[in-house]
Symmetry: C2
Subunit: 319 residues, 2 copies
């Protein structure tokens, strides 16, 4: 029986900080990422992929604003679905190419994925999730005054727009995801955290929000009863006292240790905090979660890289 691993790719797997975001840049990043993923398949893992869309959904918002006199701008759920299309396409094509080259005959497919949130989620009271590119303080203040949007300083990297980020409750397309996994397909799903929808009188409708992709990945891993959740980002391990003289990287954490550090405010909202929360919620099911850097995905799964979140009772190695 293959082990099922849910892989959550950070935005940097597709568009790296400092890059302009050209097609060539994004495709090269995706190809590199997919080469690492393909190696996992060699090792007999069943992989389900989800990915962030922060920079990309921000770019689409920028394009919409620039053309608003000619083309009516679309709400955030639509922008999110556009990124599922194009990022899914890039991953699907790149991973498919690499698998064919390796003689692995497995279909790779991206699904448009809706994720239910609650209308009553307190997150709808305060926008917290950063989307789009970074600007200077002055520029952010100007945009806030003009549009009423909220922008915040993000981990010393500049100012970003923040939007509502409700908690994912249910992956609408889960039955289809399960059917496809069972058939041997590699599924790319819940891109950008999924398209946020609420249920109203039994009907789904999109909402102006963005779901954190790590939370959505954790939900997916739990609903699939996956064997491991792997959250890939741009740092090798989770740190406490991040950026301070007494910064310390962690290689293992129990749930209670992680919860303690969380309460002490060690993890930045909009960056490490949701990853740690996602890892804790998955580890709570009795399986391991790992936060690691993208170029160490194999090592992370096998136990020699990343920060491992151990289930509460016993620790069992996967390798």
């Amino acid at each position: 029986m293959e082990k099922t691993i849910v892989l959550a790719l950070g935005g940097n797997a597709i568009l790296q900080p400092g890059q302009k975001g050209t097609y060539t840049e994004q495709l090269e990043n995706v190809q590199k990422t997919c080469t690492s993923i393909a190696e996992l398949l060699d090792n007999g893992y069943q992989i389900v992929i989800t990915h962030g869309n922060g920079p990309q959904v921000g770019n689409i918002a920028t394009q919409q604003i620039a053309a608003r006199d000619k083309v009516p701008p679309m709400p955030l759920d639509i922008c999110g679905s556009q990124t599922q299309g194009f990022m899914g396409y890039m991953i699907q094509q790149s991973l498919g190419n690499i698998l064919r080259e390796r003689g692995v005959n497995r279909p790779v497919v991206s699904l448009v994925t809706q994720v239910c949130v609650s209308e009553d989620d307190p997150a709808f009271k305060r926008p917290t999730k950063p989307v789009g590119g970074f600007v200077s303080k002055e520029e952010a203040e100007k945009i806030m005054a003009e549009t009423g949007e909220k922008w915040v300083e993000d981990s010393g990297r500049g100012w970003r727009k923040v939007v509502y980020s409700p908690k994912p409750l249910e992956i609408v397309e889960m039955p289809v995801i399960k059917t496809l996994i069972k058939s041997g397909a590699i599924v790319i799903s819940s891109g950008g955290g999924g398209i946020p929808v609420i249920k109203k009188d039994g009907k789904l409708q999109g909402v102006e929000a963005v779901i954190d992709k790590d939370r959505a990945a954790s939900l997916m891993a739990r609903q699939l009863a996956a064997d491991m959740l792997v959250i890939l980002t741009d740092v090798p391990r989770v740190a406490i006292n991040y950026g301070k003289p007494d910064q310390r990287f962690l290689d293992r954490l129990t749930i209670s240790e992680a919860e303690k550090f969380l309460k002490e405010g060690h993890f930045g909202e909009g960056s490490m905090l949701p990853k740690v929360e996602a890892a804790i919620s998955f580890a709570g099911t009795g399986k391991e979660a790992v936060i690691a850097s993208l170029d160490q995905v194999k090592e992370a799964i096998e136990g020699s890289a990343g920060t491992r979140f151990q289930p509460s009772k016993t620790y069992s190695s996967v390798s």
Copy 2:
């Protein structure tokens, strides 16, 4: 055994001529279309949906141009994949809502779909496929002079940009589509004719083109061995001498009649021509194809509306 029907939705199923293309407009159109589709499921048909994306991919191109100083514009394959995401989302959500309301428990899902074309397709010598909105002759001439793009007059409705439109040869995700249909899911696939890719050294790569969605729908219907191909558009039937005093709507055509009219130039390139070609190529497999208006889909399938393309040997009613 359920009859399998491939439904090709025209652009007007989602964005009607004269509309601005707001979210509300497009969602209302989609909901109306999905109500008609849901009725077919009541009648025991298995439905596979594909859709055009002409106006939408044009809007995305407009947005990209407007923001090109800030966000690098993407090639046409990426723009197409964006429309698969957002149009798939709207159809998936709307049809899912209507089915739940009717107590039908079947998943609806949109797949990112790549469609292989040949690098050597003669279509890469001359752009013919209209995309995007209509402009005046003067404006089109100005844009052509500035950008080198090609714009043409389209059926008396104004001037539109035209791009390469190679012939679809293979739907890459066909194994996944078949798995999902077999599982009872309603699949939305090959949106906008599919994302055009070529195979080079065994690897897929996107190309700057748009595949005609009716041709892609015909290919899908043939590859699925579907029982019927239904091409939905904004006219009730196919006409010869269209727009002339001796215009005549047709309710039935044999393949050889259709080919004769085609050669005589009765069908407009970029509008009715590809639909008729798609219908002929499917009817060539011995099953019926129908071209009809969106609001008569049920009648078209049952035989009382639209233009039916009869397979060459015998005619057998489906109703």
